[in-house]
Amino acid sequence: MRTLSLKVNGDTVQAAAPSHWTLLEVLRYKLGLTGSKQGCDKGDCGACTVLVDGRPVLACLTLAGAVEEREVTTIEGLMPLHVKSGGDGPDPVQAAFDRCGALQCGFCQPGMMLSARALLNKNPCPTRAEIREALSGNLCRCTGYTQIFEAVELAVAESIGVAPAPRSWEAQRMDPSEAQAAAKRAAAHLAERRKQEGRE
């Protein structure tokens, strides 16, 4: 047993735990931060994903002691950190997940959203392929992922101030040529943006 000093969601917290405990165990069984989910304990499902210095890692495979002096962000911290940095309400990723119906049971979502947040931090205007790649370590059994991709794309579109491409369920009720045109416009905006960032 030793006393760990961790920086979680901007707070410095102390927790007494055996030296072999994982970050997930300390979060869930010592700090009461149960937003990081326990799905498999073996690094397979991604439900325990947290950010360490902005990078997504699996809390279940990380010794708590290994992240002392690093900035740990869990799902509980996402909205407060967004508000602290001048935002209003939930992080854009959270808001977009809400609005796109990107969740059913919700158990995989905290990890999924932190992976998405990490992606957008380093790549504010990702392609669909980059989104899929960034979320490939987070398994979901309910939704079929598509609305999750659309949610990340909505968060991107809104954060850079362009109209998003019609989401699949919206496009269904639009005139096909109109839906295509709208999707093209959105794609052009995003491509332009990526060009400005020097990525294309």
Binding site: T34, G101, C105, I131, E133, R141, Y145, Q147, W169
Partner: protein, 714 residues
């Protein structure tokens, strides 16, 4: 739809007049879920709580000689241990004992200390072992063959037919893989009451059993299902794990948290029946199915297994089938999303597809020819158009496998009931401050029931979704049935609708004197209350509510046959198409597109329907390409009891998915979840054949099987 002026009854408004329902609704609990505030059973923390773990049988069949828990109690931190099985175990993973300790880790230390002495008994864990002449008896009641149809006429029909195919199709055992494992938290400290949280599909299903285990009156035990992380049919009842937690809590007089580990979940939390279907299917020259003879085996472990009847959906003039369960020393099957249907669908759709190519008939036309219900015709045509079937270069013969990448398209259809039943009641309350709540003890598996409880109420009272609070997930609330077989919508929606309707009528009666008119003329719409014909200015909702007494107003509604007739229906249809790319060098199959068209009566929340259909398609994709329980034939050990070994599809496997809600269906509400996972894997398997001529009759369609079917690997 006849409406008696004097005694109005609850009906859905015309679709074009709906303001909340049939729209894209943001879930009322989305904010709780995206902020991590939503508390699942796994997350419940109660002061003084112990954590428990299960000791599972290490081999498939044991005679227990000695089970000594005393050594576990000597481990530091261990608080208690209970025996669950002291005589015989029948499958690897059957719970034998449970240990509670101050941390989950200490509980695991405790499990390792338990002294278990046993003798192996003979076991059977695959079909060959289970059907061998001297096979061990897995169950005392040996299953009998059940038959359906007339064998002689079916055989005769096949003999005289223009074309016949005969083949064997097999499906693996699939796991539910709910992201939250099974488990309960029992808050009991030795008094005469308790609260039990359970990750379950039935709030009212587990509580009486928990009370019994705790030795308490059922009326003193509150069951809670605030949020739950997926069920898909696996989570009904208290379960052995729940019993163990109650026993431990009763013994140590402390709250107990028992969540199964992922390995426990694979070994002892149920699965979808595996099976084998030998099918002879015959058609006339024009593709009309004339005869079918099938011999089917269900592999449901120590359970019976399930497999939907043949012929599945398609009409066959003369059909005969025999079905037999083959018990084995493996965890029992449980209900899993459309029990028995994905299996039967795979056999039927594959055999029909083979016959179409043999006859040189367009497989889409062959399907339509044998589907009596015209709904399928419009759905198949639509998904075919959407996926590019009519422009596809090879429709009645497969593509050339010499190409490195081959593209193919395939189809499948689905059927489900989705109707409701009695046992659900709802209370709607209107407060003097204008707030409204709808309360019913039902559970939300992620399907969005919490949202539509609020939405139906808001629609009825002319309010916005956010104006209504839904209270669900507690046995302290009015009763509700469990969520199985897509029956929740059909059971719950009418009850909520009637409750809201009754609340509106009662409120109208109170407000009628204000307007000086008959209550029937008082209307709630757009956040206002008005006289439909009068000149008096409308009241805002808040103004109207302010006239209520301090206790507000409440009304109840329940599911009745009569309400069901007006508000709900049963029997849904779906068609799906898949476009795949087969890499003929490696045998890998990539699904490029999946298109679904699905009816479900009145969609309560279109966004949630799309999510259900997408989710169903992906489960089928996963069943088609990845999922399979692997058990070592000699030891009975599951070789892939992890989420690395047992693969479910991830984000990189996703095809372009298009879900088309069939809006021509004008019926009342119907549950949609089950049907959506039935046709996808068949469509994919058929698409693989269309792409390159590889007919894989054994799911999953792993690369080696594809290459084998192409004759490249022998």
């Amino acid at each position: 739809m006849a409406q008696d002026e004097k005694d109005p009854v609850a009906t859905w408004p015309a679709r074009e007049n709906l303001k909340v329902l049939n729209h894209d609704l943001v879930r009322v609990d989305a904010r709780a879920k995206v902020t991590g505030a939503a508390r699942y059973t796994h997350d419940v923390r109660v002061p003084g709580m112990a954590y428990a773990r299960l000791l599972l049988a290490p081999l498939p069949a044991l005679k227990i000689k000695k089970l000594d828990l005393a050594p576990a109690l000597k481990i530091p931190g261990v608080l208690g241990a209970v025996a669950l099985e002291t005589d015989r175990t029948r499958w690897l993973g059957e719970p034998i004992a449970a240990v509670a300790a101050t941390t989950p880790e200490r509980a695991e230390d405790g499990l390792r200390a338990i002294l278990l002495e046993y003798e192996r008994e003979p076991w059977a864990i695959d079909e060959a072992q289970a059907t061998a002449p001297n096979a061990p008896k897995v169950r005392s009641n040996a299953p009998k063959v059940s038959t359906d149809g007339d064998q002689a006429s079916a055989e005769r029909a096949c003999e005289g037919a223009a074309a016949v195919i005969e083949a064997t199709y097999t499906v693996p055992v699939q796991h539910h893989v709910c992201l939250e494992t099974h488990g309960v938290v029992v808050d009991y400290k030795g008094g005469d009451e308790a609260t039990v949280w359970c990750s379950t599909q039935s709030t009212f299903g587990f509580t009486p059993d928990a009370a019994k285990e705790l030795g308490l009156k059922a009326s003193r035990v509150t069951g809670l299902v605030e949020y739950m992380g997926g069920g898909f049919g696996a989570k009904f009842g208290l379960g052995l794990e729940g019993q163990a937690a109650c026993k431990l809590s009763k013994e140590i007089k402390r709250p107990v948290h028992l969540m199964m580990t992922r390995r426990d979940e694979f070994l002892a939390a149920g699965n979808r029946t595996g099976g084998k279907m030998r099918i002879k299917l015959a058609a006339s020259q024009d593709g009309t199915l004339v005869g079918m003879v099938a011999d089917r085996r269900r592999f449901g472990g120590i359970g019976n297994g399930s497999m939907a009847k043949f012929p599945y959906i398609y009409a066959v003039e003369n059909a005969y089938s025999e079905t037999l369960s083959v018990p084995m020393n493996l965890d029992s099957n449980r209900a899993m999303r459309a029990p028995g249907h994905p299996q039967a669908g795979f056999g039927m759709e594959s055999a029909l597809d083979e016959l179409a190519y043999k006859l040189g008939v367009d497989p889409l036309e062959m399907r339509k020819r044998n589907l009596k219900d015209k709904v399928y015709h419009r759905q198949l045509e639509r998904v075919a158009r959407e996926i590019g079937w009519y422009e596809h270069p090879h429709r009645d013969k497969p593509g050339d496998p010499k190409a490195e990448k081959c593209i193919g398209i395939g189809f499948g259809v689905a059927v489900w009931g989705g109707g409701g039943g009695g046992g659900t009641e709802c209370e709607v309350r209107i407060e003097r401050d204008g707030s409204v709540s709808a309360a019913v003890g039902t559970q939300d598996l992620g399907t969005g029931s919490r949202t539509y409880v609020a939405a139906i109420t808001a629609e009825e009272l002319g309010l916005r979704l956010e104006d209504v609070t839904a209270h669900i997930g507690s046995t302290r609330l009015p009763s509700a049935t469990g969520s199985g077989g897509s029956t929740t919508t059909g059971s719950l929606a009418p009850a909520v609708k009637v409750a809201a309707f009754n609340a509106a009528r009662a409120f109208a009666a109170r407000l009628a004197p204000v307007f000086g008119v008959d209550a029937a003329r008082v209307q709630f719409a757009g956040g206002e209350v008005r006289d439909t014909q009068g000149a008096k200015p409308a009241l805002s909702w808040k103004q109207a509510c302010a006239m209520l007494p301090a206790e507000g107003l409440s009304a109840r509604g329940e599911w009745t046959k009569d309400a069901n007739k007006r508000l709900a229906a049963s029997g849904i249809h779906g068609a799906q198409a898949a476009r795949v790319e087969v890499d003929t060098q490696t045998g890998r199959v990539r699904v490029l597109d999946m298109i679904a068209m699905q009816d479900c009566g009145l969609p309560l929340n279109r966004l949630a329907v799309v999510s259900q259909v997408n989710g169903g398609m992906v489960q089928a994709l996963s069943y088609a390409l990845h999922e399979e329980r692997n058990v070592d034939a000699a030891l009975g050990v599951m070789l892939n009891s992890t989420m690395e070994g047992y693969k479910i599809a991830g984000s990189l496997e996703m095809p372009r998915m298009v879900t088309i809600i069939d809006d021509e269906d004008e019926r009342g509400v119907i549950g949609v979840a089950e049907a959506t996972c039935i046709p996808g894997h068949s469509a994919i398997a058929n698409a693989v054949f269309n792409a390159c001529g590889a007919r894989v009759r054994d799911l999953p369609l792993t690369p080696d099987k594809v290459l084998f079917a192409l004759g490249k690997v022998v």
